[in-house]
Each structure stands twice: as structure tokens, then as C-alpha cells.
């Protein structure tokens, strides 16, 4: 049956995808950190969501081949990766509960567009477009820098979630070993925008007597100033609508300034967000350079920039070692798009609408010359999945090289 006649993610399509395209070997290497299966893979939980929506937890495999075989047999709509346990998850029933605890796990982050619904003006809910992807790319730039520079991590893998968000997996040994307490501490450290609908001012992280931003937040702010101007003011035009600028005014502590601006903006409905931000700046500029009022307003403006652009992390995902997260290269059941890795350096060029769908990949396979199928090339090499699998391979190889280096280093010391 030709691929285009099938449902975007019908069982037939999914089975063909697992059989011919899903890069089980790359996933194995990435999880296992070396060629020979280690506990990192054999004691790793995989949870399947079946076509019937049955959720099968505590699966584990000894090799990549077994992993593939079982996935094809179950033909799930998607699967998730959990922690490395003290024993094999599939033996869970026969082990004392105290001998079965999560040991290691990549440090993971989840950023979802829904957390930006109150700011973005282009789409709502499940929708995402090229324009609002700007929020995600701002988040990626900020987090990627913070985690590398401040925490010293090197092996970061960013993965598109298949619809409207992005996941991050960190595989450095030290990150894998973090306890839940340490994970919680880190997530709280990285969380700057806080408070629900009822809280207008969501950035309250200043410290000291004449409150300054903590060094980590200050470092994050600098690149966000430009992003604020391009994304919030120009593209999204967040303060154009009445609701938009009213929200902005709630964040201005100086009642005199707010009053002047309210009058001005009420009178002129056509003022763009850029105009309004300039209005704000010129009002603040009226205060003497060293005045208390000016300092307060400068701080407020910095906080506004953070509130609109700083990453909004789904904290619960990151806090626990045993949280399950959808595996890279799975297919999003609604969109049919593949959860592909993304190069953070090129995050701004990424367009979710151009991510291959499973149907498209199978069509590409059908169109490719059939002679090659018997060759040594994997099927994914003949589709547009290729650059993504290669990115994953490259990532896994550098991780494996690091593990080898460490092994040699520890061998010679003995």
C-alpha cells in the first residue's frame, strides 16, 4: 500500500517507521555511552504507549536489536525514556522494592509553548508558527549558555517535541548522577519567571539593599535585550492591544510615569509596541541620571524584559530522576512530525513546519531507487531524516569518546 493513502500515524505507518527508519542504534549509543551494552542501557526503563492507549511501564532491553524487535512487536504510538535503575526494570516484580531505585538519569528540561500563551499574539493553544518559535529559541539560547558556562555541562541534546515545544537531555556523567534535591535546586536557580495569572509581576529575583540582579540572571539579560526588541516589540507587537499595554503598565512601579503613559496611549490607538517602549524610555529619561526614581525604573524595565523573554521551564519534569520523557525520533501522534534533534547554534533558523513527518519520510523511501535497499546503507540515509540522525550520531560519538578518555585516564592512574 502506497504511504500517502494511510492515516498520518496509522499502525501500518508506525510499524514501517520502526522497521525501516527509527535509529535504534543511535539511541542505544547515546543512552549507553559505549559500544558494549552497560547498565546505562540494560537497566534503563522504556515505557511504551500502545495504539490502544495502554501504557506499558518498566520495559528494559539488553541490546539495541532486542529494543528494536520489541518495539516493532508492540508497535507503540510513542515511547518514553526513564532512569537507569539499580536493577533491570523488566525484573521489577521479582526484586525487593528497596533493591529497585533510580540511580542515574540524564538531566532533562521541557519548554512548552503553552507557558507563553499569555504573551504571544500570533497563535493560541496547540498551534505554533514560525513567529512564536522565537520564544522557544530565546529560551534555548539562554538555557544552553547558562548550563554550559555556569554548570560546565558539555553534552546537551536539544530535541523538538513534535508539536509546540522542545526538550533538552544532558548526558554528562555529573549531570546523570544528580540527586533529586540537586535537580530541584538547579531548576529553582534557573526559574526566574514565577507566579500564575493572578500575579502581574512575575520576576522577583533581585537581591540586596539597592536590589541588583543575581549574576546568573544579569548574564542572561544582556542577549535578551535585543531579543525583546525584535520579538516582543517588533514581531509579536505585545503592547499594541489594550490588554497588552495595560499589562505592561501594571509592571511599572512609578505611578506618575504610568499615569502619563496611560493618558498618551488611550489617546492614540495606533501606537506600536516600539513606540510605546520608546515613550516609556523617554519618560524615564526625564529623571536625573543618578536619581532613585530612575534606578527603580531601570530595574523595572529589566524585569519586564525578563518577564517577556526569559525561559519558562516546566519545573516538574526536571526535578525527579524517575520522570519519563518522550524519546528523540518518536513521532508526534497528532502532527506526525518526528521529534528531531536541533542544533542550538542554528535554533533561530529552525522552522517547526519544515520538520519531516512520518508519512513524508515513507514516501521519500518509496521514491528512492529500490536497488539500494540491500546495500550497507541504512534506510534513513535515503530520506530527509538523514541530517538529524547524523546529528545524533555525532553527539553520541563525542559522548562515547569522552567516556573512553575517562576510562583510559582512570586506568593509567592505577
Amino acid at each position: 500500500m502506497p504511504a500517502e493513502e494511510l492515516e498520518p500515524t496509522s499502525p501500518e505507518v508506525m510499524l514501517a517507521f520502526y522497521r525501516r527508519l527509527y535509529p535504534f542504534k543511535s539511541i542505544f549509543k547515546w543512552l549507553n555511552h559505549e559500544h558494549t551494552p552497560s547498565r546505562l542501557f540494560t537497566n534503563r526503563e522504556i515505557a511504551f504507549t500502545l495504539q490502544s492507549d495502554v501504557y506499558l511501564r518498566y520495559n528494559s532491553f539488553t541490546t539495541a536489536e532486542e529494543f528494536k524487535k520489541q518495539t516493532c512487536a508492540l508497535n507503540p504510538t510513542r515511547f518514553e525514556i526513564g532512569p537507569v535503575y539499580t536493577a533491570r526494570p523488566r525484573d521489577k516484580k521479582t526484586i525487593r522494592p528497596s533493591a529497585f531505585t533510580p540511580l542515574l538519569r540524564e538531566l532533562v528540561f521541557d519548554i512548552d509553548m503553552t507557558d507563553y500563551d499569555s504573551i504571544r499574539t500570533c497563535c493560541q493553544g496547540a498551534d505554533i508558527c514560525n513567529r512564536c518559535w522565537g520564544f522557544i529559541s530565546a529560551a534555548v539560547l539562554t538555557l544552553d549558555t547558562a548550563l554550559r558556562e555556569q554548570f560546565g555541562y558539555k553534552y546537551l541534546l536539544w530535541v523538538y517535541s513534535g508539536r509546540r515545544g522542545i526538550h533538552l537531555w544532558i548526558s554528562d556523567r555529573e549531570a546523570m548522577e544528580l540527586t533529586d534535591d540537586q535537580r530541584r535546586a538547579m531548576v529553582n536557580f534557573l526559574t526566574v519567571v514565577q507566579g500564575g495569572k493572578e500575579m502581574h509581576k512575575k520576576v522577583n529575583v533581585r537581591i540586596g539593599k539597592d536590589p541588583v540582579l543575581p549574576p546568573s540572571v544579569k548574564a542572561a539579560l544582556e542577549p535578551l535585550v535585543e531579543i525583546f526588541s525584535n520579538l516582543i516589540l517588533a514581531d509579536q507587537d505585545c503592547f499594541k492591544s489594550d490588554d497588552g499595554w495595560e499589562e505592561l503598565l501594571t509592571l511599572i512601579p512609578d505611578k506618575d510615569v504610568a499615569k502619563v503613559l496611560r493618558r498618551k496611549w488611550n489617546d492614540d490607538e495606533d501606537r506600536s509596541s516600539e513606540d510605546k517602549w520608546d515613550d516609556l524610555k523617554s519618560e524615564v529619561g526625564k529623571y536625573a541620571k543618578t536619581s532613585r526614581e530612575r534606578a527603580t525604573m531601570k530595574a523595572a524595565m529589566e524585569d519586564i524584559i525578563l518577564q517577556y523573554t526569559y525561559p519558562r521551564i516546566d519545573a516538574e519534569v526536571s526535578k525527579h530522576r524517575n520522570h519519563l520523557l518522550k524519546a528523540p525520533f518518536c513521532v508526534h501522534p497528532k502532527t506526525g512530525r518526528i521529534c528531531v534533534p536541533i542544533d542550538p547554534e542554528r535554533i533561530q533558523e529552525f522552522d517547526p513546519a519544515r520538520v519531516p513527518t512520518v508519512g513524508q519520510l515513507l514516501r521519500e523511501l518509496d521514491a528512492a531507487s529500490p536497488e539500494n535497499t540491500a546495500g550497507e546503507h541504512a534506510d534513513w540515509e535515503r530520506t530527509s531524516l538523514k541530517p538529524y540522525v547524523e546529528m545524533m550520531e555525532k553527539h553520541a560519538s563525542s559522548l562515547m569518546a569522552e567516556v573512553r578518555r575517562e576510562k583510559i585516564a582512570s586506568d593509567t592512574t592505577w
Partner: protein, 486 residues
């Protein structure tokens, strides 16, 4: 690190002449001299009382300052520790007891992950309270005796990161004159969480005033490791039949809540009469006894363990044997005198020490009620917080205490405490709520923040409150005279 500790120890010893040179201890050396079985048990129980109070402080969401106050009071009562400068006190004896208590509890609490986790949390808190409350000299000498594996930040790094480090000092200190230490960020997660440090390449730059965090973390990490080691080594200890029952009791006591140090003898010999009981039960009884009284009134009968639990409670409350016989006789109204005398009288007299071995049993503590003689399906003894289903507990609490001010809005908090296994905390909370109209505030417990550990203690404190209130009213009425008199 180990090496340093060993060389530093004797050096300080020369100054103070003490075997245990510091009040603070990381407990890396177990007590080596012989320990008697009595010491083994008493040191452990004394320490357990303090740790249990720390645990219930957590369960009751006390602030650290409140917790500290209560913990210091408990420490002074059960495991006092004098500063090194207090030359009139036998500091070595106190510190030896401290070390023994700690190591015995390690043995008792290493056996399950749950116990280990709770023990580590309580011990680390105890360490922190002591660290916070001892003198600067005591602390400094302790710190100098140890190497906490932190790297001092070099002047070059200080210059490089001056603006960032300045931001951490809240404008109070100058970076140039402040010492900073570099540690792996994972060693100070609490400082990272509160953004009290500057991070670079996985290292946290810690200003010296936050150094204590490094030490608490170190204490915790060492204890966690040590407990796992002990757990692995413990099976060998199983052979020592004298120790195992003691250890088992200790860990059970910890899980069941606070071991009571309330002694029934503290009930100053005041008497109550049979006809007072029903009214007293409505105003002053904890849920376990109120439940027994309600059952007795409804069924005109209680089964054996119910009679035992309730009878001893009433005796300790001040019910004489004569009044007890009267009370039970009236309550068992469905029986003939003959049946009553034959089946029940002996047991009642027995519990007053007038028959058989003639032992005068005291009222049961919460811990005994929680852990011994588990109630069967038709029994009504035990602790309602532990032995009732959540549904039944809610209904029972409302029917018992709504006249005393308990509302359904109070139930979620109580039930979540119960769910976490802190039965005594739930009971204490109910006490606070039902005595709010007498001025008891949340967190005050049955007096100075203490939790309920004995049903009789609950009733006694409740009655004392009432008496104090009556006194106050009297004072107000006679107030004019009093002032005039002075």
C-alpha cells in the same frame, strides 16, 4: 581529609585535655571504649526524643527559628552539651553520650531507605541547630580542625569575576576583603537554589559567610554514605541477641512518633468520679479515648483490649478502684451483677494491681497504642488516626469535635498529616484546633510546642488549660481587690 582529622585531634587535645575536643562532631570515629547495654539504650533513647521532636517540627511546618528554639530546649533536657570553655562540666562524659547515642541510632536506622532518609534529615538539622547556637570560638576551633575540601578563590579569579561577586555581597562587603571558596556546585545545592553563589564551570563561588552550608552538606553527605555502609555490615550484628531487640524497638519508636517521656506520675493525685467521665470525655479526651467512651455508651460493652486501654487511661486520670468498679458496672448495663462480677470485676481489680501479680500498670503511651495489640475488625481500641480509614476518621473527628470548633475545612491538613504517618502530629493539631477558643495557637501544641505523646498528657494539659482559664476569670472578678491589696 581523614588524615587531617587525625593529626588535628590530638593537637587540640593538648590544649583542652579532652578526649572529645569539640562540641560539634562529624561522627567519623565510632566510640571505641566498652559501652554497657544500659548506656547503649539510654543514650539512644535520649537522642531519639530530640530527633523525634525535630521530625514533628518538620511535619508541623515550623520555621527554622521555632524549630531551633524547641530543639535547644529538648537538647538541654535530654542530651545537654556544654561548650568546651565550660570547665566545671564533665564535657567528655556528655560528648561520649552524644557519640554513643548517634552511633546506636545509626545501627537502628540504617535498615530501610525511609528510615535512613528521615534519620539523616533529623541528624543534619540537629547538627545545624548546634552549629548555629554555639559560640563563635567553639565553631572556629571545630572548623580549623577539619578540612572541608574547598578551594580558596585566587586574587586573579576575584578580579576576573569582581562584578559578579560584588552582586552577591549585597553591597555590605567589599569583594577584595571577603574570602571566597570554590566547591562543586552539587555540594551546596541550597545556596545555588537561593542564588547565594556565583557559578562558573560547575563550581560555586561561596562567600565565607555562607561557609556553613558547605559544612551542613558535608555532614549530610558523610552520614548518608556511612549509613549505607552500616546497612551492608549490619547482618553480622544480627548475631548479637542482646542488641537486636533494642535496635528494633528504637526504629519502631521513631516510625510511630515520639517516645513519651511524659510520666503518668506527673498527674498530681487529683481524683475524678465515675459520673464525671462522660462530660470530661467530650471536653478533654483525645480521639482514641473519646472513641472508646462513645462505643461504650452505645454498645454497653467494650472488648478486652478496649477495656484495657480505656481502663488504664481512666485510672491514670485519677479514677479510684471504687469509682472504676462503679463506672464499669453502670456502663455494662446489659449484664447481670453476677455476670459482671464473674467476667469483668477481676480484670478491673487486676489492672489496679489488686489481683494476680499485683503490678500497677500505668496508662498506655501513644507509642504503645500505635505499635502493640493491633486492633482487629471488631475492636475499638488503638489510635483512630492510624487505625481508621480516612473516610471514617473524617466522620469521627467531625462528630467528636465540631462542638469544640473543628470544621471540615480543618480536615485536609489533618488527613495529609495522617497520610504521611505523623499520627501524633495530627492528634496535636486537633488539640490546637479544639482549644483555639482558649487561646491555643497553631504550632503551640499541648504547651511550648510539644506534641502529644500520651493520651493522659493530652487530657491533663486540656484540663489544666480550663483550670487556668477559671483562675483568670476569678482574678478578673477579684481583680480590683488584688491591685488594691498591693
Amino acid at each position: 581529609m581523614e588524615k587531617l582529622a587525625k593529626t588535628a585531634g590530638p593537637e587540640v587535645e593538648q590544649h583542652s585535655g579532652l578526649k572529645y575536643p569539640h562540641l560539634l562532631n562529624l561522627y567519623d570515629v565510632p566510640p571505641l571504649e566498652d559501652i554497657t547495654i544500659e548506656e547503649f539504650e539510654t543514650c539512644a533513647i535520649d537522642r531519639l526524643r530530640v530527633l523525634s521532636e525535630i521530625e514533628s517540627s518538620f511535619a508541623r511546618n515550623r520555621s527554622f527559628d521555632e524549630l531551633k528554639k524547641i530543639t535547644i530546649a529538648q537538647c538541654n533536657k535530654h542530651i545537654p552539651m556544654a561548650e568546651t570553655t565550660a570547665t566545671t562540666v564533665d564535657r567528655d562524659a556528655q560528648r561520649r553520650a552524644d557519640v554513643i547515642g548517634h552511633f546506636v541510632l545509626r545501627l537502628a536506622f540504617c535498615r530501610s531507605e525511609e528510615l535512613r532518609r528521615r534519620f539523616v534529615k533529623a541528624e543534619t538539622t540537629l547538627f545545624r541547630v548546634r552549629y548555629d547556637s554555639c559560640s563563635g570560638t567553639e565553631r572556629k576551633n571545630f572548623l580549623n580542625s577539619r578540612d572541608f575540601a574547598s578551594i580558596q578563590v585566587t586574587p586573579d579569579e576575584k578580579t576576573l569575576y569582581a562584578p559578579q561577586l560584588q552582586a552577591l555581597s549585597f553591597g555590605n562587603e567589599r569583594v577584595a576583603t571577603t574570602e571566597f571558596y570554590k566547591v562543586k556546585w552539587t555540594r551546596v545545592p541550597d545556596l545555588v537554589e537561593r542564588r547565594k553563589v556565583f557559578l562558573r564551570g560547575g563550581y560555586a563561588f561561596v562567600p565565607s559567610r555562607e561557609q556553613s552550608s558547605i559544612i551542613f552538606q558535608e555532614f549530610q553527605a558523610r552520614l548518608e554514605k556511612a549509613l549505607e555502609m552500616t546497612a551492608k555490615a549490619l547482618p553480622r550484628l544480627d548475631e548479637d541477641t542482646r542488641l537486636m531487640p533494642v535496635l528494633g524497638n528504637l526504629s519502631q519508636a521513631f516510625l510511630a512518633g515520639v517516645p513519651s517521656d511524659w510520666s503518668p506520675a506527673e498527674n498530681n493525685g487529683e481524683e475524678i468520679r465515675a459520673d464525671m467521665i462522660d462530660e470530661l470525655s467530650r471536653k478533654h479526651f483525645p480521639a482514641c479515648m473519646r472513641n472508646l467512651q462513645d462505643n461504650l455508651r452505645r454498645d454497653h460493652h467494650l472488648k478486652h483490649f478496649g477495656r484495657l486501654q480505656y481502663g488504664l487511661f481512666l485510672k491514670t486520670l485519677g479514677l479510684s478502684i471504687e469509682e472504676a468498679l462503679l463506672f464499669w458496672r453502670k456502663s455494662f448495663s446489659g449484664f447481670t451483677d453476677d455476670q459482671f462480677n464473674k467476667n469483668y470485676k477481676y480484670n478491673i481489680r487486676h489492672s489496679y494491681g489488686l489481683e494476680g501479680k499485683r503490678a500497677n500498670y500505668p496508662g498506655k503511651s501513644c507509642q504503645q497504642i500505635l505499635t502493640s495489640d493491633q486492633p482487629g475488625a471488631t475492636d475499638s481500641h488503638g489510635c483512630p488516626y492510624r487505625h481508621f480509614s480516612p473516610d471514617n476518621l473524617q466522620t469521627a473527628l467531625l462528630s467528636m469535635y465540631s462542638s469544640q470548633g473543628l470544621t471540615s475545612a480543618d480536615l485536609p491538613e489533618i488527613l495529609s498529616t495522617v497520610k504521611a504517618g505523623h499520627y501524633h502530629v495530627a492528634c496535636t493539631r486537633v488539640y490546637e484546633i479544639t482549644h483555639a477558643h482558649q487561646g491555643v495557637k497553631k504550632g503551640e501544641g499541648i504547651g511550648s510546642g510539644e506534641s502529644v505523646t500520651h493520651p493522659n498528657q493530652y487530657s491533663k494539659e486540656s484540663r489544666n488549660l480550663e483550670k487556668a482559664l477559671i483562675e483568670e476569670v476569678k482574678m478578673e472578678i477579684d481583680g480590683g481587690d488584688v491591685t488594691m491589696g498591693v
